[in-house]
């Protein structure tokens, strides 16, 4: 899925995350998280997995996380991608 415009999904609530995606030449993933020290690698792996599943190879993916679980990360990222793909 190609990122054609800005897209956003999620909230700033505890156990959730806010995802913003926008077009970029390369794939850039920026992670802000209250549990960054412990879980950044797992969050990144999840984001990369979802991006790969949708064939997204470029774009700036920024997340502001407050301890969201995997399924929330997946749902929020997919929603942001859909909004950014003009679907």
């Amino acid at each position: 899925m190609k990122i054609c415009k800005k897209g956003q999904a999620g909230t700033v609530q505890s156990s959730d995350l806010m995802v913003t995606v926008e077009p970029a030449d390369a794939l850039i993933i920026e992670i802000e998280s209250t549990v960054k020290k412990q879980f950044e690698h797992l969050i990144r792996a999840k984001l990369e997995q979802v991006l790969a599943k949708h064939g997204t190879v470029s774009g700036r993916i920024s997340i502001s996380d407050r301890g969201a679980l995997d399924y929330a990360i997946e749902a929020r990222l997919e929603t942001a991608l859909q909004r950014a793909g003009g679907m």
């Binding site: 909230t11 700033v12 802000e32 502001s64």
Partner: protein, 330 residues
């Protein structure tokens, strides 16, 4: 939005010792059984007047308000959002992933997202070793006075960073001010021109400056701005001197210079005040230049502005600016 909704918002905001400031792009609220229990507003890239009814604090309402405001700011195309709050509330916002930029005794400034870090990273190619200085200017428009200040300052440091105020609050648009500055200092080798992003004298950090409201609020904002510059921006560029022009005319600018003089030394930065340059018999200032333009006294302008600015002021491109300064025809 109805008058009663606004009245309820005003009451909730004021009950928290905050004052209701008209002028916002969004005002959002959450009702519980017909009662307004949380409120917040967004004015441009500033979130303000966030308040949660006492018995609902500690829950999810602040997060809900912030989510609503951040989403609306994002829809409006903003890449950075700021919040000013009492220092004791900074922690509540940090828990929502806001980053603390600067604090003063009465106020904390936080940013949603990592804007400052990203902005600095984008400027990293401009970092030069040495004893560096900084000037911050609006340049509305660039005059011989600015030129004199930059020239004098540049002689006293290895590299001079010239920050042009990005905020669009001036007759001359940012792109024009930036271009005239670049043309006007091109021949001075050690001057690096950049803009202030969201992080110097802009409405995000210093709204009262433009409002000419000379009360303690102005003082607090000035201290916050100087703290942000001295603690976050200056160290990144190796800035150890800040240059300003002496200010005989404007009380606000003079108060700002006083604030710089008081606060900078604690951060290892010296303030250097340079006497204003005079043209024939009067001090050169950008406001005088705008006056002359408004009264179509183009001839006198050459005593006040360099050739590059003069060429622009007389150009077709500047016609809308001239018309705006002249005001409606009598």
């Amino acid at each position: 939005m109805s008058a009663s909704e606004i009245a309820a918002a005003k009451q909730l905001i004021e009950s928290h010792g905050l004052s209701f400031e008209p002028g916002f792009d969004n005002l959002v609220g959450i009702y519980e059984q017909g009662e307004l229990v949380a409120v917040g507003a967004r004015a441009g890239n500033v979130l303000k007047m966030l308040a949660v009814e006492a018995e609902y604090q500690g829950g999810s309402l602040l997060g809900e308000i912030v989510t609503l405001l951040v989403s609306r700011g994002y829809d409006a195309g903003l890449d950075s959002l700021f919040v000013y709050t009492k220092p004791e509330y900074a922690g509540s916002f940090q828990a929502l992933n806001f980053k603390l930029l600067a604090t003063q005794a009465k106020v904390a400034l936080l940013e949603y997202g990592n804007g400052l870090k990203k902005w600095l990273a984008a400027q990293s190619a401009l970092i030069k070793p040495g004893c560096n200085g900084a000037v911050v200017m609006n340049c509305n428009p660039f005059t011989l006075g600015h030129r004199y200040l930059v020239e004098t300052a540049a002689q006293q440091v290895d590299n001079l960073y010239l920050f042009v105020v990005r905020e669009e609050r001036s007759v001359f648009p940012f792109a024009v001010r930036m271009r005239l500055v670049k043309e006007g200092v091109r021949d001075i080798g050690n001057v690096i021109v950049l803009d202030t992003g969201h992080y110097l004298i802009s409405s995000a950090t210093f709204p009262t400056y433009f409002l000419k409201k000379d009360d303690p609020v102005a003082r607090i904002q000035m201290e916050l701005d100087v703290t942000l510059f001295a603690s976050r921006i200056a160290p990144f560029f190796g800035i150890v001197r800040r240059f300003v022009g002496s200010e005989p005319l404007c009380q606000m600018t003079r108060a700002y210079n006083d604030t710089l003089r008081e606060l900078l030394p604690a951060y290892g930065i010296a303030l250097v005040e340079i006497e204003r340059k005079e043209a024939i018999s009067e001090v050169i200032s950008a406001s005088r230049v705008r006056d002359l333009l408004a009264h179509q006294q183009l001839k006198q302008l050459q005593n006040h502005v360099p050739a590059s600015t003069l060429a622009f002021l007389g150009s077709d491109e500047a016609a809308p600016i001239r018309r705006q300064l002249e005001g409606p025809p009598a």
